[in-house]
Amino acid sequence: MARPHRPSPAARDVTGPATAAVPAWAEAAVRRLEASEQALARLSPVVVPLLTEVVSLSQRLEQWLDALTADLRAPQGNLDRYGGNVEAAHGRLLATVGTSPDVILRRFGIGRTLRWPALLAFVDGLVDAAMIDRDVLGPLQSAEALPVHDPQSLLNAVQERVVAVGHVTVENVWDQLLTKLVSGNALLFLEGVPEALVLDTVKYPQRSVGRSQTEPSVLGPQEAFTEISLTQMNLLRLRIQSPGLRFTPLTVGNRSLTQVVLVHLDDVTNPALVSAVLQRLRTIRRDSVQTANEVAEYLADRRWTLFPQTRQTDRVEWVAREVMTGKVAVLVANDPFAIILPNTLMDFYRTTQDYASSFWDTTLTRIVRLVALFVGIYLMPLYIALTSVNTDLIPTKLLLTIAGSRAGIPFPPISEVIIMWVIIEVLREASVRLPQQMATTLGTVGAVVVGTAIVKAGVVDDIMIVTVTLTALGLFTSPAFELTSTWRWLFWGFIAAAYVFGIYGIVLMTVAVLTHVTSLENYGVPYFSPWGPLRVRELADSLVRLPLPFLTRRPLSLRTVDARLSHRRTTRQAVDLYAGQRRARRR
């Protein structure tokens, strides 16, 4: 609705009694003012903030253009490079990242008396503030006798004599400068110098090195990775003090620019494996990479298989052990879980504790894991098959016990399984999401509901409770988290096969799973090794573990450069050693 026209005070002044003396330009101005006033009156309240925004953007555009103009006017004018104008750099930074409150742009003068214009840019929180004050700003502001006659000399003087930062590089490409800035470096721009100093003042906020929560171990080292790549590399370097340890950094994620580090032992790992993994890493085309799994899914040979091909762990010593075996690890910044590959099925059943405790203990534990796996996969399908299809195969007394237990239950066994498994999965998911204290309560409630109430209600029979409990325990004994979902999926396949075909179906399903597992390969490593293909020597560290002195070779399927895990002295070395000892005794 149009507002009624009211002449503005200015217009009234102009169009007052002295109208005859008003020049034409003034009248034109008045008309434009009136037109503007009418236009403004028609504007809705929504449009006004938009206009404000347009004005703001125009101002930023002006700054941006000024900065670009300054860069273009530089001796080697280039829009992509810093041209030596501190004000222009300030404007450009302000127009790009400067609007963020954590980006600090500090203009100051270098030299106690010189006051040469300079600009320091850094991201607050990602840099060591004490370092900025003590090692950068302080020395710069109190520096004397700086050669300002020549830009290169000034740059060299600042880099070599003034700035007290360990790692300093020179850069002038804006894309690189901005990337370095947001990754925690401080940028120092000097007036007249067409290059900026990149000062390594990175100090990421990080938690302390803690214990592994996902793979606890009674014995052995307890340290777990943090989210910071540098810390991850340091922790690994502490455990592998070999000069052959190589860290190959890459950046993935077009926008997140996440650092990914490939770890391998140069004198052990198969070079073809390293290059293959590097190649796969370079094919990652995503805007953002926030978790290790987002990288891992690009590294798998077979993407649709249920069986995991990469193992993720936050245990430092496990990554070190696997790298020493001849595998490669991929560290992903911002995720404490390192990716290890290639893996066999057996690798997912090995843990740190297997090597931190005696081989008797390890062997027993591995057998228990295998039995638990079989219980988890087969117990419930066998229950279905034997109580519904192949009832003649079950011992009479057991069948009668089951029949007695099932008397009055309204559902067939298959429905009971579905009911119970849904309850188990819901409880599991809820306990994972809830805080620890609540999870304990939930577990108690679940036990009461599942264990007692549902039986008393006559929905499920007693034996089903026992079966479901053993199944759930069996399926969750897998030491690697990645495998739990695999077995849970396959469990339903077995249940369906048992329901339709009985024991025959279970056998068919087993054959199908075995066929699939034996057909899998991961970077040329057979997934079912050492059983398929059979590698007798490697059976020493499979279902059983022999004492460590017997484990002398790396897995054959990894095709490592150095196949031996333990090196015996050659005759020549032994003679030299003996001679050395004799000389020492004589002295």
Binding site: T391, A407, P413, F501, G505
Partner: protein, 368 residues
Amino acid sequence: MRHWGKVVVGLSLMGLLSGCWSNRPVERRNLALMLGVGPAPHHQIRLIFQIPTRSGLTGLTKGSGASQEASFYLIEGVGATMTDAFAQAQAKTTRDLYLGQVEVVAFSTRLPPTAFEQARNMFSRLGSLDKTAYAVATPSVRRLLALQPRSGELPGIILASNFGCLSCNVEHLERTVWDMETAHYNRGINLWLPLLSAGPHGFEINQMAVYAQDRPVLILTPPETQALGYVMGLTHKGTLTFRWGPHWVALRALDARPHFAMAWKDGRPAIAITLDVTGSLAEYLRGELTPPVLKAVETAAEKDLARRVTAVLARLQQAHVDPVGFGQSWVWFHPTRFARLGSWRQAFAHATISVQVHLRLNDIGDLT
């Protein structure tokens, strides 16, 4: 697309070959634990199924003993053939009469040979029937199947435990449906079944019924069964009581290892049986037990045992039946001569049988 076609064809074949869709939960089946075959009027066959009741099943589950309610009930069917009798019994219940868990199949000793032949023939072809079910003979099928043990347990379970336990009885008289088959098709052996009867205190299993031509021709007494058990390797906890002078001497825990030697002498089979028997001296009240006395006791026991075994074998010869399987051994060692024999039963009836017993007393101290 062709790949999916193969998958579909494969799954269909698997489904067809598996005999699937026989999915029927256990609670929807009538689990017959004992099955009885007896005579019925007008030359018919009576089939009796013993089915556990719900209280019988839950009593088993909860581990409780005898309950007020019966732990089983019977379903009967009578017909001219086994199939008719089965169909009639099935018509009396709404659930599937399931024979896959039958523990004991009881045959009446009064069953006509034709009916016995029918039953044996049907059981050999009945896929769902477990061929390891125990087979017994009984004077009265209905009385046997109706007997409720005092413990309240299911009779089929008690009997299965009894037959399945090697050291639970004096004689381990275990026969299965499968044994009936082998005896039927083997010319050198006669079928025998344990005689199971319902006594006032429960089941009594200490006799043997020997069959010839689908009918029981000889029912051995308990001492005869025990004596024959030594020869057949069935007696493991035998006792022997004999009079030695004015006193009784008792041996117990007798266990025998039989050895046979077969020969052809004077135009007839000559069977030499050697029994290596061990046991313990349970009662001896005559005086001091010295090594010579012990040897004398052993010698006396050997003679007595040899006499008993010879007597029972003579009775078998009189009845022209060979449940031990001497003829089977004869087939193995002299197949051509056996083929020329014609009837092993006749040959066995005229065979010369000698029994030699070597008895050694292992224990003369406390009874264990």
